[in-house]
Symmetry: C2
Amino acid sequence: MSAQRSTGPALRLGIAGLGTVGIGVVKIVQRHADLLAARTGRKVEITAVCARDRNKNRDADLSGYAWESDAVDLAKREDIDVFVELMGGHEGVAKDATEAALASGKDVVTANKSLLAHHGQALAEMAESLGRVIRFEAAVAGGIPCIKALTESMAGNQIRRVMGVMNGTCNYILTRMEDAGLPYATVFEEARQLGYLEADPNLDVGGIDAGHKLSLLASIAFGTKVAFHDVQLEGIGRISIDDIRRAGDMGYKIKLLGVAQMTGRGLEQRMTPCLVPATSPLGQLSGGTNMVVVEGDSVGQIVLRGAGAGEGPTASAVMGDVADIARGLRLSTFGIPASQLTEATAAVATAPASYYLRINLSDKPGALAKVAQALGNAGISISRMRQYGHADSAAPVLIVTHKTTSDAIEHAIATFPQTGVVQGDPVALRIEDL
Amino acid sequence: MSAQRSTGPALRLGIAGLGTVGIGVVKIVQRHADLLAARTGRKVEITAVCARDRNKNRDADLSGYAWESDAVDLAKREDIDVFVELMGGHEGVAKDATEAALASGKDVVTANKSLLAHHGQALAEMAESLGRVIRFEAAVAGGIPCIKALTESMAGNQIRRVMGVMNGTCNYILTRMEDAGLPYATVFEEARQLGYLEADPNLDVGGIDAGHKLSLLASIAFGTKVAFHDVQLEGIGRISIDDIRRAGDMGYKIKLLGVAQMTGRGLEQRMTPCLVPATSPLGQLSGGTNMVVVEGDSVGQIVLRGAGAGEGPTASAVMGDVADIARGLRLSTFGIPASQLTEATAAVATAPASYYLRINLSDKPGALAKVAQALGNAGISISRMRQYGHADSAAPVLIVTHKTTSDAIEHAIATFPQTGVVQGDPVALRIEDL
């Protein structure tokens, strides 16, 4: 008798979607057949595959696999054990095929953050009522093992906060703006031409894709039903090169940062541009790399860093899930049974924080005093302030506040027009404590 | 039917060793009983405990648990399912009790790196022949989930290299030397007074403790039998504040860095002071924090950072393993069955690298040329060189070489006396590529 089933039957995969990640999975199964068998105690095989266009030239030999033109048909095949969903999209065939797979007794491994962000609870309930598992390490931060760390390694912790830079394209754009001194629009166009952007770029730069990921992490961290629609979303479109430079002068970097934490008023989920200390691990993250930071009451802060996208890293995460299934690990989709996940009250940025404010002041005597007074009236005190030299009639002023609330900041900004000295819209960005 | 056994029997722990970590485990089990039950589908209970001194004042209520004065007796109790070994030491009672636990049908969770570094293969074989598991996340880098990441998340990867800063005390000493400009001996004494050092300080500063950890990671990464005695060990005792400063001038930090990689000549395992780029994640690591870096052929580089020691982090890692057992995850000790682990040939630093050399040169005409010639004769070319101003008769010279081998460096150093211009022993430190 061995702890590991060394004579288990082969684990048979059906792969739906043969884009970059799907082909990456095929390559790993082919290249590392022996390694996978040694590690899981079973052969891992591909039985059948499916994609939109059979005749497309692909960088892998698919001749040994049955071909299905319809993912639902693939999902129902009797000769597969695991349905690997790599098509994407939260409606249509991805959803239909996932449901068909579960209904016909298959486990599911998916990289589809959008599907789970929208239908995670229903799918988890379905899977668990049928005794199947859904695994989705590849859906969040690519190759970084954050789902596993949170669900398994930190099982003895009450989670305090989960944070992450989980959209490589946004981090690339912000890093490139800073390094090359280029405005957002120019770098956005570069990224589009490099093929870094989704067909709908708002999924990236609007924070939606990263918001999907955050909502999945939050569910596991806090035992709550996935609540993507409660994520406070703000993209990077209004970040100027000025703000990146000014924040840098004050010792910060600007990141599209996801933060989920349970507060006295409910579950706070934010995916917004934030300032983080330049010397922190998040501040030092540049280019397309992702980072997930998890804080537990016993373990303290764990930082996980790696490639958030791409063929190899995402396929590696898929195969980690496949190996778990081959080894017999059977977990609830979001770490606890779906029936025990609670409905969280959504709270909007109630946790106090310092804020960065950039205000264009009219060049009039007493202007700064008027703004300071408006902040004081809103109960906000100033930690640091800088006024920059200027050639025209407006003086850029930077303020870092002491800890306050987003309500207070909004209130103060709403009173700025009454001062008669604030030009244009002030920029207010939260400074996340690390 | 549910994917998770929600009505499973309680999982009963016997805890041997009630030091910091043992008490940390007790506290988590008591504080998070509901959380653990929800996450694992079973109650997690402590049945019995054992420590040297029953009357010691401990920061936890142990009145509900049976007391054993002998760990072997605890291990054999019929009312425990998991033997949690937190005593330490690689001979004597820790080994006897672990064997007794396995022999009497218990799974084992341990934080004992030394035990596994010395007897890992025998214990793994014993566990697997009896159908039991041994888990040891807490033995390597405290709260950082590096064993799980390597064994499970990266199961689809051929591992290329594993690196880590895994002794917080050494990293604290090096960081403190740099920040305070203090010599090694002074900071060593500070660390001793702060209680940061093991009873035998050489376990820390000699790299032995970190070497134990590296040997366990290497076994999992490369499917080889644990070979602690093949780890090339060098402590931090000869690192001077001068070297820390000079390396800093050249853009590097000095770390006690563990590196394991499979080369054409065999398995290279080193735990030695190395230079790493100051801007890399390893270079940015300061104080007692640990970091493990794993590189796989698909996933690329994954960086894991967190607390490497202490009550909470280590107890968190123990509980992650306990939760896995409660959830029914049963893995081979080192990722593949013990019978399939291979005996690796030990290779000593065969992978080429750049080196940092600090040489005290006599203040004579042509001295630098003679050293450059000696390096050239050994096939070593110079990438960068700095000579510092000096008040006495010896001029400190720093050299960063192009990639070469440790053999070539040793050969060159052996010829330095013949030049007649090198004073004292040169310092040579490997620069690890990141």
